[in-house]
């Protein structure tokens, strides 16, 4: 296995609201192998975006990283100096966001915003910065970049703006790109352009990518490894083929079963019952137990994320010796869904 560029261990990020601690990220452990793409998939409130913002130390009040370590190329990000962290942001680790429409500053031109990165990280002046900015816009496939550079964000379409965001994120050729739902706000034909673009640029620059999404299609299409998050925890981690072939956690299975497919006929969707618990009503044991079709007594205790024989890491009692529910329960029945 290749080197890991990022090694997150037991990361905990909480929000403190009116004296209560809301554990948005609760013990996340992850590795990003060099040059590969790690997908983080989960529904709203699963903590996937907060995990990403924690890596860049961009958690605002009332949020706080309360524990764990983030090792980036041997450097511990949770206790580097703010000035070093600023040096990393946008230079060694970059991030693009969900909303291209609002993620660019409306009162500055594309060029001004791109040049800023070069000024901060490479000390380039206006002339040199403009040259590099035009090259970058060309690289992300924006036509007539020398004209575009003097335009304001409102003059560009959503897809164009996301290309500009990518150009800005990749301006200094980062080692790691965090893409937080980069295509959720875009139409599918534009989404496919953007995903392909990220993939191509990844190869050109040789960077690693963390792809955060709620869309299992995007995961299957772009990722090498996948972490499934639920209520601030990773419930399953595997390489992408293993995860889709042989999902182990009942939540992962539930997601796959409730997904309406455009590429095949399905009789009935099998939804997950109930809804995600409110942050202040988190169950003490397995977070998924109240919605799990297989839940048993032992599920009132928290299971650990443990590696299984066929490669998945799963946080579920079913795969342990302590399992006290139905023996030989079939969590995933491939036949029933295809």
């Amino acid at each position: 296995m290749s080197e890991n560029i990022l090694d997150i261990n037991d990361l905990r990020t909480s929000f403190f609201v009116e004296g209560n601690e809301i554990k948005a990220v609760d013990g996340v452990t992850l590795q990003v192998p060099e040059g590969k793409t790690l997908g983080i998939v989960g529904e709203s409130g699963s903590g996937k975006s907060i995990s990403a913002l924690s890596i860049l130390q961009l958690i605002d009040d009332p949020g706080k990283i309360v524990g764990g370590s983030i090792d980036f190329n041997g450097e511990e990000l949770t206790d580097v100096k703010p000035s070093r962290m600023r040096n990393i942001r946008g230079n060694e680790i970059s991030m693009i966001f969900q909303e291209p429409m609002t993620s660019l500053n409306p009162v500055y031109t594309i060029g001004q915003q791109l040049r800023e990165s070069y000024k901060i990280h490479e000390g380039l002046g206006k002339k040199e910065g403009t040259k590099r900015a035009i090259e970058m816009l060309e690289m992300v496939g924006i036509p007539s970049p020398d004209k575009r550079i003097d335009q304001y964000p409102y003059e560009l379409s959503g897809g164009m703006r996301q290309r500009v965001m990518i150009a800005m994120a990749l301006a200094c050729k980062p080692e790691l790109l965090i893409a937080d739902e980069p295509t959720t706000a875009l139409d599918v034909t534009i989404q496919s352009q953007i995903l392909e673009l990220i993939k191509e640029l990844q190869e050109e620059i040789g960077m690693s990518v963390i792809m955060i999404t709620h869309d299992l299609g995007v995961i299957a299409e772009t990722c090498d490894y996948v972490a499934v998050m639920y209520c601030g925890q990773i419930v399953e981690y595997a390489d992408v083929e293993t995860l889709f072939d042989n999902p182990k956690h009942p939540y992962t299975v539930g997601l796959l079963n409730s997904l309406p497919r455009h590429d095949m006929d399905q009789d009935e969707l099998i939804p997950i019952k109930g809804s995600v618990p409110a942050p202040d009503e988190m169950p003490a044991g397995c977070r998924f137990a109240p919605r799990c079709p297989h839940a048993s007594n032992i599920c009132s205790q928290m299971p650990a994320l443990e590696t299984q024989e066929d490669g998945n890491d799963v946080r579920c009692w079913i795969y342990t010796d302590q399992w006290d529910g139905e023996k030989g329960v079939k969590v995933y029945d491939r036949e029933s869904t295809s």
């Binding site: 534009i190 352009q193 299957a220 992408v240 409730s258």
Partner: protein, 366 residues
């Protein structure tokens, strides 16, 4: 066939004026819907799909006359809706209901579920006053909400539950047709599946007809009997769900389908990248509206608008497509003029450069 018809939309046009100039005159129009025709039969689910700006939501709003249609005919249950006066239209609305994408925005935050449902029934006066309470409780159970939640306010519910309230409100007046405008788009997949299953169950139980407006083709394939594909205010293809998904005829439909990521890492589809963005609906391209992004386009496509007609030789029967070359592309006689695989070259052609449209918009507003 016609007896079975519930909704008939014929040559619907919806133009929104753009004011501009010194005196605020109408200088141009946004042609949001431009000559659209389709029918929906009783008990059927018909989906209108397309990307943002294709006019699918505008079509839904025009049918309910939430916006007054510019031109065209809309018949519901044999009655002409467009010529109805306000009073008649209000009565008509009990037969046609709409569910929106954001249930929170469409529910009054100061009203409990009971008040919301009561109000809906009161306006339409479809249920006698003394039976309303029982009906409300019945509705709550039907959509899968607890009886004790009846006096709660919208903010006390989750997104999925709020969408259930929206469905209950739509059902409360015993409609025949429900227009679902991106009704499940904002929901997480696990909740989305619950709501989709509920909609299917209700359709069976109440003999409902759905018009589904959606951009998620997975959802669309799952729920629809027939599909209408729109692009830039026009219908480019329509037909049975199976025909659209398994034998798409229009280059746009094909590109759209190929663009959706498949949740199966072993089965990565060969992508067709469309170049650029959708052109502005203010000054849509002449001829076939898709020609600026179409790899198969010829000079004919730039001048001559294709008719929506049957061209599928495999899956015959109400599968229409608006493309001059549908048959030739199908048989392999008509080849694309360039490769559609380089995502960065994809923008350099005329279709990708939306600079001019931006400027036009600006000028129009000035």
């Amino acid at each position: 066939m016609t007896e079975n018809q519930l909704l008939k939309v014929a040559n619907l046009k919806q133009y929104f004026p753009i004011k501009g100039g010194f005196l605020g005159r109408t200088v141009n129009h946004v042609k949001a819907v431009d000559d659209v025709s389709f029918t929906i039969n009783k008990g059927e689910t018909v989906s209108v799909v397309g990307e943002s700006g294709c006019g699918k939501s505008t079509t839904g709003r025009a049918i309910l006359r939430l916006d007054e249609p510019t031109e065209g005919k809309i018949e519901f249950d044999g009655q002409d809706i467009v010529s109805m006066n306000k009073n008649e239209m209000r009565k008509m609305r009990s037969e046609m209901q709409i569910i929106f994408q954001d249930p929170y925005a469409s529910l009054n935050p100061r009203k409990t579920v009971r008040q919301t449902l009561n109000e809906a029934m009161e306006i339409q006066d479809v249920v006698p006053k003394n039976e309303r309470n029982d009906r409300i409780i019945e509705l709550m159970e039907t959509v899968g909400l607890q009886r004790h939640q009846i006096d709660r306010f919208p903010h006390e519910f989750s997104g999925g539950q709020r969408q259930r309230i929206g469905i209950a409100r739509a059902l409360s007046v015993n409609p025949k047709l429900i227009i679902c405008d991106e009704a499940v788009s904002a929901l997480d997949v696990s909740i989305q599946a619950q709501v989709l299953n509920l909609l299917k169950k209700l359709q069976r139980e109440y003999d409902l007809t759905y018009m589904f407006i959606a951009h998620d083709l997975g959802v669309v394939r799952h729920i629809s009997d027939r599909i209408v594909v729109m692009y830039l205010g026009k219908v480019v293809e329509s037909g049975d769900t199976k025909a659209i998904f398994e034998n798409p005829q229009h280059p746009y439909t094909k590109a759209l389908l190929s663009a959706i990521p498949v949740p199966d890492p072993k089965n990565k589809s060969e992508r067709i990248f469309l170049r650029g963005d959708v052109p502005s609906p203010i000054d849509p391209p002449q001829g076939c509206r898709f020609h600026t992004r179409c790899p198969y386009a010829t000079d004919k496509c730039k001048t001559e608008e294709p008719l929506l007609e049957e061209k599928d030789s495999v899956m015959t029967g109400s599968h229409d497509v608006a493309c001059h070359y549908a048959k030739d592309i199908q048989s392999g006689r008509h080849k694309p003029t360039y490769e559609m695989t380089d995502v960065r070259k994809a923008l350099d052609e005329e279709g990708g450069d939306n600079e001019s449209t931006g400027k036009e918009l600006e000028d129009a507003k000035n």
